[in-house]
């Protein structure tokens, strides 16, 4: 493995000062990707409650008293879950936008403005997240 001498905490930390756009983008993309795959597993786990639910009576289903609907409703009733969902949206939106940026980079499009497109992804992510807060929080109180 690569070697480097310990240059003390402050010195190490200062390396981050000159992290360029591309590197931040890489780190964020990594982070968001991991969150997304992690979520995919939980998501499917939660959704699988639909399997026992499908055995329920039609009336129960209609009343929304089945396991699946109950689970979802109780989860969605928690403010924390709602907030996490906003977070998830932010993560997903960033990963999508930056992913689109990376696809363009792979096609050799806009390499000179790679830093600008990264900043644009960040700003757009922020805007979309903020704009969707009302929809996401609706009904939580």
């Amino acid at each position: 493995m690569s070697q480097s001498y310990n240059r003390g905490l402050i010195e190490d930390f200062s390396r981050w000062r000159e992290f360029e756009a591309g590197m931040w983008a890489w780190i964020f993309h990594k982070f968001t990707g991991w969150v997304l795959i992690g979520y995919l597993f939980t998501h499917i786990a939660v959704l699988s409650t639909a399997i026992p639910a499908s055995g329920a009576e039609t009336a129960v289903l209609q009343a929304g008293n089945d396991v699946y609907t109950q689970t979802i409703v109780s989860l969605e009733g928690l403010l924390l879950v709602r907030i996490l969902e906003v977070g998830l949206l932010a993560v997903a939106v960033f990963h999508m936008l930056n992913g689109a940026r990376l696809l363009l980079v792979d096609l050799g499009v806009g390499l000179e403005s790679q830093d600008k497109s990264f900043y644009a992804s960040l700003i757009l992510t922020g805007a979309i997240t903020v704009a969707s807060v009302p929809t996401f929080i609706a009904g939580a109180f």
């Binding site: 010195e11 000062r17 000159e18 360029e20 591309g22 792979d106």
Partner: protein, 298 residues
């Protein structure tokens, strides 16, 4: 003033104290004494420098990484402070040379051409990979911190071991290969202006290793060819004088396990390259070239 000094002295005292408790050998004592004196000298020098600095407004403060596996008192990495009189047009390399020639002749760094063609003096200046000779002092924030290239083994002070970088550069068969030469005795191979233009930037690499040092992937995977070597491969793969079969071979080289696919388009290589080589662009073009080439046979 330098923050390391008190710490260093403490250290020396500590060792001295230690040796006292467990029956000091004469050698230990002598060494401790020597170290103490060396510290003393350095402190004195730094005070003098600081005074000079105070007297003359126009100095720059340099904090330089020091390490030497062979010299007692330098085995533990530390930073030394130098105050160098500023002159217009001064580069980081000029400042280092001044510090070496006037204050401490053991200050070690590679340098030769002083004009950004030999690639000896890539270092980590204020948190970025820079060629010291091509970096103007007045564009930097003070104090200027100078460290050896990250992600490489430090040999001494600002000198890092370049062997690994050279190995990677040489791993891509970095030499021209072709099967056909023109017939006439004094006949050159023809090359279009467009083609020469296409490879022009890639031929400017001076092997400084700044890109390699800045790439996180290269830091994590020692076998990754790295941006400079891939760029070298690009220089040949895109040279139309080499012919199709050789190009196939070139693509196989760059497609290997630790080749182009490792690149995560971090762009930091492109950002730091002192020769402005569009490294990421070249790497990406090779990836596409490889995919295209393989799709043909699908």
């Amino acid at each position: 003033m330098s923050t390391q000094i008190p710490k260093q002295t403490e250290k020396a005292d500590e060792t001295a104290a230690e040796t006292e408790t467990d029956a000091p050998s004469k050698g230990d004592e002598r060494r401790a004494e020597k170290r103490r004196r060396a510290d003393e000298r350095r402190r004195q020098r730094e005070t003098e420098e600081a005074e000079r600095a105070a007297a003359d407004e126009n100095t720059v403060e340099l904090r330089v990484f020091r390490y030497d596996p062979d010299v007692e008192g330098k085995q533990e990495p530390r930073f030394d402070t130098f105050h160098v009189p500023f002159t217009k047009g001064m580069t980081v390399l000029d400042a280092l040379m001044y510090a070496r020639d006037s204050y401490d002749s053991s200050l070690t760094f590679r340098h030769s051409c002083r004009q950004a063609v030999c690639g000896s003096d890539a270092m980590f200046v204020n948190g970025g990979q820079k060629l010291a000779c091509k970096t103007q002092i007045d564009e930097l924030e003070e104090p200027i911190r100078v460290e050896p290239l990250p992600h490489a083994e430090v040999t001494k002070d600002l000198v890092v071991d370049m062997e690994h970088f050279y190995d990677q550069m040489e791993a891509v068969e970095p030499y021209f290969q072709t099967n056909e030469y023109p017939d006439g005795e004094l006949e050159e191979q023809r090359q279009t202006r467009e083609n020469r233009e296409k490879i022009k930037m890639s031929t400017r690499c001076i092997w400084c290793s700044a890109c390699m040092s800045s790439c996180n992937i290269a830091a994590g995977d020692n076998e990754y060819l790295g941006p400079a070597a891939i760029n070298k491969a690009y220089r040949f793969a895109m040279d139309e004088r080499e012919g199709e079969d050789v190009k196939q071979k070139r693509l196989e080289i760059i497609e290997q396990e630790h080749g182009v696919w490792r690149c995560q388009t971090q762009f930091s290589c492109t950002e730091v390259c002192p020769k402005d080589i569009p490294l990421t662009e070249h790497i990406q073009e090779l990836k596409r070239e490889a995919v295209k080439n393989n799709l043909k046979f699908w």
